[in-house]
Amino acid sequence: MKTKIIILIGLFTFTTAFTLKMESGKYLTKNGKMSFFSSTGIEDITAENNKVSSVLDSKTGKIVIEVLIKSFRFKKALMEEHFNENYMESTKYPKSKFDGKIDNLSAVNFSKDGTIKTTISGNLTIKDKTNPIKTDATITVKGGKLNGNTKFKIVLADYNITIPSVVKDKIKKEMEITADLDYEPMK
């Protein structure tokens, strides 16, 4: 009897440990989308990045997003050049990072299909500057996968992005950033 109980407990512990290991609760994307938009007197500035990587931990609510600046594509080659060389200095600062969390994690049920509006907050690093940000976000759960969507504005000066005085009046001091990330469960 005693041995049976011990075996049972042992089996139980083993399976629990095994299940826990299987379900890391982490989701990832390697090919997420991010774009930005700013209107000028001459024409709109938009660029798209399809290689955004991110890990979202459903157990802690932690989100890390990393963007390679050189993966942003512009319609105009000249704009892309100016963006990389003058504004972002992307050879010196090749990536930007968001390190934060889902604010009301308990409201998100990761095992049930549905859409939840929440806020996320954390630190955004662009170039050599890090600032706290808080933004609205939508998390959609569908068939075990996640989509995270957010749109927010940043003030260029907060991140040491200086605009040459020649075009100062043409370029807005703010920029709107949109992220659209399709996450898959991490194996």
């Binding site: 390697k30 290689k51 991110s54 050189k70 050879t91 990536k95």
Partner: protein, 138 residues
């Protein structure tokens, strides 16, 4: 006098067309460009892990021809079909982003295929080295 006016118009015309060309100048055609470096995906990744800053100085914006084995074909982002190459380190790859026009070519590829890809180096992200504007080298 007339000569001067004609000359003036000509000069303005030339400046305007140069400015117009600069403004609309085409993107560098990576597929047609000669590669600056030829290396295997494993060596490429190893160099980045050894020293990211040094690797960036050497490779950023350069045209790289990478040889490797396909670890995954990632089509979830329809705007940039991606082929990931193995690096010898689990979960880490050399991720190669293609234009969406090349989707049909990418779909013909299979996991474990040996392949050679040319692209522009964008740096190292969370899951390895990233090259974009890729094309297949036959």
């Amino acid at each position: 006098m007339l000569k001067r006016i004609i000359l003036f118009i000509l000069v303005i015309g030339i400046i305007a067309s140069i400015a117009f060309y600069m403004w609309n100048k085409p993107h560098k055609d990576i597929a047609a460009a000669k590669e600056d470096f030829i290396l295997t995906s494993t060596d490429f990744y190893k160099e980045y892990v050894a020293n990211e800053t040094t690797a960036n100085t050497k490779y950023l914006d350069k045209v790289i021809a990478v040889e490797g084995t396909i670890s995954a074909i990632e089509l979830e982002n329809a705007d940039e079909p991606t082929v990931a190459l193995t690096t010898g380190t689990a979960d880490m790859t050399v991720s190669c982003g293609f234009k969406k026009e090349l989707l049909n070519e990418i779909k013909k590829l299979k996991q474990n295929d040996k392949i050679k890809i040319k692209g522009k180096c964008d740096g190292m992200g969370m899951f390895g080295v990233v090259i974009t504007q890729c094309s297949l080298i036959k």
